[in-house]
Amino acid sequence: MTMRRRLSAALLLIALPAIIYATGTTEEPSDTDPVGGGAEGFPVTIEHQYGSVTVPAEPERVVTIGYSEQDPVLATGIAPVAVRYWFGDYPHAVWPWAQDELGDAEPDVLEMPYGELDFERIAALAPDLIVATHSGITAEEYAALSAISPTLVRPEEYPAFGVPWQVQARLIGEAVGRLDRADAAIETVLATIESVADRNPEFDGAQIVFASPAEGQGQYWVFGPNTPPLRFLTSLGFTFPEELAAIVGEQDAAQISSEQVRLLNVDVLVLQVGSEDALGAITSDPLVAGLEIVTEGRIVPFIGSTDPLYGALSFSTVLSLPYAAENLEPLLQAAVDGDPATAVGR
């Protein structure tokens, strides 16, 4: 590991909140997105940013080294032999929403420093398919991985960490020869989102912001309207305030000063905090305490990085989104009604 690699890993970490949600595209993928012929028959060839990958036969040892691919792989009914750890504190790096699909399988967990790959360890797993769609794999890394096994990386039209969940699910479904299962899972997600939106007309047009205090800086991160979490929340009917949209612009996240915390005073504030204490410190801050988000109980708190709701929005996969929709629904209802008696309890 060279110093430069260490440095770039450290820089990646500094930009983490932005990178987790990087999208760079506002294009909504349509159901007819041409990601392949949908054939079950192998060999399968899939175009991607570094050319194409050919999977010669149905893969049996799938290794996921992007940050969220355990979900779409499990959704096809295949248990990976190893998955990369992103964050959270769950056995096999599989979060609660994918436990049913995981079943008794016990994939190895690849803990590698953020932005780095342990090629020897990956090779030792003897994979027959490596999946790295939610990642920033470089051409050099791709070359090394390809020497180990067929490797699926993201399509050229999407930026690093910016492949929409539907596209990710279909790409992986195609690579393992189970596109029908991927499509069925996608249908389930869309139906779940639609039913939550239908059941809750009060979500429609209500303003929502997803923010997180930048600890020790006196600022807040505000996640942009084109990030996966916000795309999901707006698909439930919520809208992103124009005043903040003007500040965030095309970025995935922007910082605003604590002096402008008033901009976070919207119908529903989803607030990711490190701990209960940190949440209490914010809501008791004289500047915040008088705002309606506090007096009317409009804050939906995500506490700590192991909060499964925070994880579900961060992963934004074909498995995590239905979980997010079902578990967030009552919290969003309690927040949007503006009744302090129904402040959001966690």
Binding site: A10, G216, S258, L287
Partner: protein, 340 residues
């Protein structure tokens, strides 16, 4: 050495003192008035003298701008005076408290607090930072005192560089493999006056005040020791004892400051130079001047950081680093200004 002739006279000093006090007052007013939120001078005045807790604007002044301005006053004064004293006792124009390993030790202390003890709030790791800074400095002093001649400036600087590098590599090593700790401390590692709770200042300020008062009041000894150990000894000074006492005060001032704000560069190094270029080499003038110019520079940089990227803020540690680099280059090219 350029020196404004009238400055040596008592009248010139009084005028200079009044000018600096006026500049400082102006900087404080700017700091209360300008920032991400739009508000008026009226809001500032009301927040200070007729505080209405239900006013958002007054709360911005009272709960955000006033604390960070007070922190800037304390930190700017402590860093600048500590820097001036360091330059005197080490006779090194590039000396700053960082040379004693204060910043590296404080950062290591914070990382240990977060990584090993799971602390997450600045208030809770304040003491780790303070103790880390003090312990690192003590280590530097002990190493620098070995061998013949005791703690010579050159040996101290060398020991400081070695200890700081060692601690920095340990800090980096821990953070590389502990992402959660990095998330907590990465913003502390860039010094800031914002987002540090007022409790932090309440703990740090007494230490800063005592150390600064002692350093300013020992400026006559700084004058003597800055002309060289042999001549100082010939004037009857126990140079080892004076140097040790001054360094201890520097560590208290800088250690308390870095614990409260995180590491902030440039101020401790550059402010004494700016002052010296006006006052000449008399440390009685340099320490008092640094006491006033330090907060002017630090608070001024903080106001700048609030305005350049509105509505986002640039941390003051970044601003001072950005100003500091060209300043240092200019300093190095003007040889006259470097000599003590």
């Amino acid at each position: 050495m350029s020196r404004i002739p009238s400055f040596s006279s008592g009248g010139g000093r009084t005028v200079a003192l009044l000018v600096l006090l006026a500049l400082l007052a102006g900087t404080v007013v700017l700091s209360l008035r300008f920032g991400a939120a739009e508000l008026s001078f009226g809001d500032v005045v009301r927040a200070l003298f007729a505080y209405d807790e239900s006013s958002y604007e007054q709360n911005v002044v009272r709960t955000l701008r006033l604390p960070r301005t007070l922190l800037g006053l304390a930190a700017g004064a402590a860093l600048a005076v500590a820097g001036a004293a360091m330059q005197a006792v080490t006779r090194n124009p590039l000396a700053s408290p960082a040379i004693l390993g204060v910043n590296a030790g404080a950062a290591f202390g914070v990382v240990i607090a977060v990584s090993a003890f799971g602390l997450t709030r600045p208030m809770s790791y304040l003491w780790f930072s303070f103790i880390g800074g003090a312990a690192a400095s003590l280590l530097v002093y002990v190493i620098g005192s070995q061998g013949s001649g005791g703690a010579s400036p050159a040996k101290l600087a060398l020991a400081g560089v070695i200890v700081a590098s060692l601690l920095a590599s340990w800090t980096t090593g821990i953070l590389l493999f502990d992402q959660q700790s990095l998330d907590v401390v990465r913003f502390w590692l860039v010094g800031s006056l914002a987002g540090r709770s007022s409790g932090v200042l309440a703990v740090a300020a007494p230490f800063q005040a005592v150390a600064v008062v002692l350093l300013v009041s020992s400026s006559s000894q700084l004058n003597v020791i800055s002309i060289g150990d042999e001549r100082a000894r010939s004037l009857g000074m126990n140079t080892g004892r004076v140097r040790g006492a001054v360094l201890a005060m520097v560590v208290v001032a800088a250690g308390a400051t870095v614990a409260a704000t995180g590491p902030i560069g440039f101020v401790g190094l550059a402010v004494p130079h700016i002052v010296r270029s006006i006052t000449g080499p008399d440390y009685r003038a340099i320490t008092v001047g640094s006491l006033l110019v330090g907060p002017i520079v630090l608070i001024g940089a903080d106001v700048l950081g609030r305005l350049v990227l509105r509505p986002t803020e640039l941390q003051v540690g970044v601003v001072t680093a950005l100003i500091g680099a060209p300043f240092l280059i200019g300093l190095a090219r003007r040889r006259g200004a470097i000599s003590l």
